[in-house]
């Protein structure tokens, strides 16, 4: 390790999760970080496509970490991995692509973002709804990928194109031309056409109903102001919602284990607790062993009953559940809007939402 001898012109370190690192699926998501010499999994394609484009690169090492382990120990993992990556003296670090895998996207973003200040260029790729996009898009060049792994080659081709420019010190074009997400950086340049001509041309297109593109998109921050606090819990109705996929045994509504297209509404009346016979997890994005053994670990019915007596609130007799695993933002919004309408109708005054 740390050998900086050059068999090739450029040295690359690749970061992947436990799945692409060949360790295993969700049951191995707790895998601690480790390093493999040379390319692994998608790294082989990455190296091949770089060389096809006449870039003389070598993937000197592949750094692997389980998605859950990274998410739960981010600071420690970064403290451990960044020096490891540095010792390889990479000319470029590539992370992912992460597609729509949330924990993986967060990990890729965090690694790239920690390397940039050290002068190590780092790029990644993910889907536009990956939760790793927003926190890191400003500091990291993130290539837009498809939401599923069938988009691997396309994503890697885009990363290679961008990576070569970085390696050769060529100018990076505007994000759109590079297939990247905008970083919110303003760059001055001389346009052949004066602004007034462009504005009139754009206006005419708009009047004619033709497609046009603004030169200055207004950033859209969708935030909701916090609701006032609950003054007194006594007598108020509190509902439970979970994105952790806890459903009655047999998953009667067939909620999908990923990319859920629906949610379920299930009774709590008369239930003092959940157990491995009454309920199960339908979620495909985490290891279900512990939730199936005791579903209270995700949907805490046993303690809701205890606290009901202690705090004096009324648990809503129904709970709502879906699977938050690659679920589109549109679907999640739609579910929540429908759920909220029912809750307001039923007099629910507060919600506890649990997520894995």
């Amino acid at each position: 390790m740390g050998d900086a001898s050059r068999n090739r012109e450029y040295r690359i370190v690749h970061y992947v999760n436990q799945f692409f690192g060949g360790v295993g699926g969700e049951e191995k998501a707790n895998c601690e970080p480790f390093t493999i010499q040379g390319p692994q999994g998608p790294g082989r394609l990455l190296e091949k496509l770089f060389r096809e484009e006449k870039a003389d690169v070598e993937i000197v090492a592949t750094v692997v970490c389980g998605d859950s382990y990274f998410a739960e120990n981010q600071e420690n993992v970064l403290r451990e991995l960044i020096p490891v990556i540095r010792e390889y003296h990479p000319d470029l670090v590539v992370a992912g692509p992460a597609f729509n895998a949330g924990r993986y996207g967060m990990a890729c973003g965090a690694i790239c973002s920690s390397l940039q200040p050290l002068g190590i260029p780092a790029i990644t790729a993910m889907y536009k709804e990956n939760p790793g996009l927003d926190p890191y898009r400003k500091t990291v060049l993130i290539v837009e990928s498809a939401n599923i792994v069938s988009g691997m080659e396309e994503a890697i081709r885009k990363m290679v194109r961008l990576g070569i420019k970085i390696l050769r010190g060529e100018e990076i074009e505007f994000p759109k031309a590079e297939g990247c997400f905008e970083q919110g950086i303003r760059k001055n340049y001389f346009h052949a056409e004066p602004a007034v001509g462009r504005a009139i041309a754009m206006l005419l297109r708009k009047i004619n109903g033709d497609p046009f593109e603004t030169e200055y998109p207004i950033p859209f921050f969708d935030r909701v102001d916090p609701q006032p606090a609950i003054a007194d819990l006594k007598g108020i109705t509190v509902a439970l919602v979970t994105s952790g996929g806890i459903v009655p045994t047999g998953n009667p509504d067939h909620i999908e284990s990923s990319s859920a297209s629906k949610y379920g509404k299930y009774p709590l009346e008369g239930l003092e607790t959940l157990n491995s016979r009454t309920h199960q997890s339908a979620h495909g994005g985490y290891d279900n062993t512990y939730a199936n053994d005791d579903p209270n670990r995700v949907l805490p019915i046993d303690m809701m009953r205890e606290l009901e007596k202690e705090l004096g609130f009324k648990p809503h007799p129904w709970y709502y559940a879906t699977v938050g695993n690659g679920t589109s933002v549109d679907n999640a919004q739609k579910f929540a809007k429908e759920i909220a309408v029912e809750m307001i109708r039923d007099g629910v005054q507060a919600v506890i939402l649990t997520s894995t």
Binding site: D134, D222, V224, L233, D294, L307, M343
Partner: protein, 76 residues
């Protein structure tokens, strides 16, 4: 989902394992959970201690609902 329910007028306490995701999606009252596969439990603890842990997390969520806030707040 936390954001949309709150938008409709109901305060939400979000108990979740990955705080950064909760912050990104716009939950306002955030309570950090134990771990991804068991947010409100810990299979390594004896059953009574595990229940106590779950009870405390849930109490924290209720306390969050009773706390006036102006912006996203993590109740750790």
């Amino acid at each position: 989902m936390a954001k949309e329910i709150e938008r409709a007028g109901i305060p939400v306490a979000h108990i979740c394992s990955i705080i950064t995701i909760s912050q990104t999606v716009g939950a306002n009252r955030i309570v950090p959970a134990v771990a991804i596969p068991h947010p409100l439990g810990n299979p390594r603890l004896p059953p009574e201690e595990e229940k106590e842990l779950r009870r405390n997390l849930l109490k924290k969520a209720f306390a969050a609902l009773q706390t006036p806030i102006q912006e996203q707040t993590v109740f750790s």
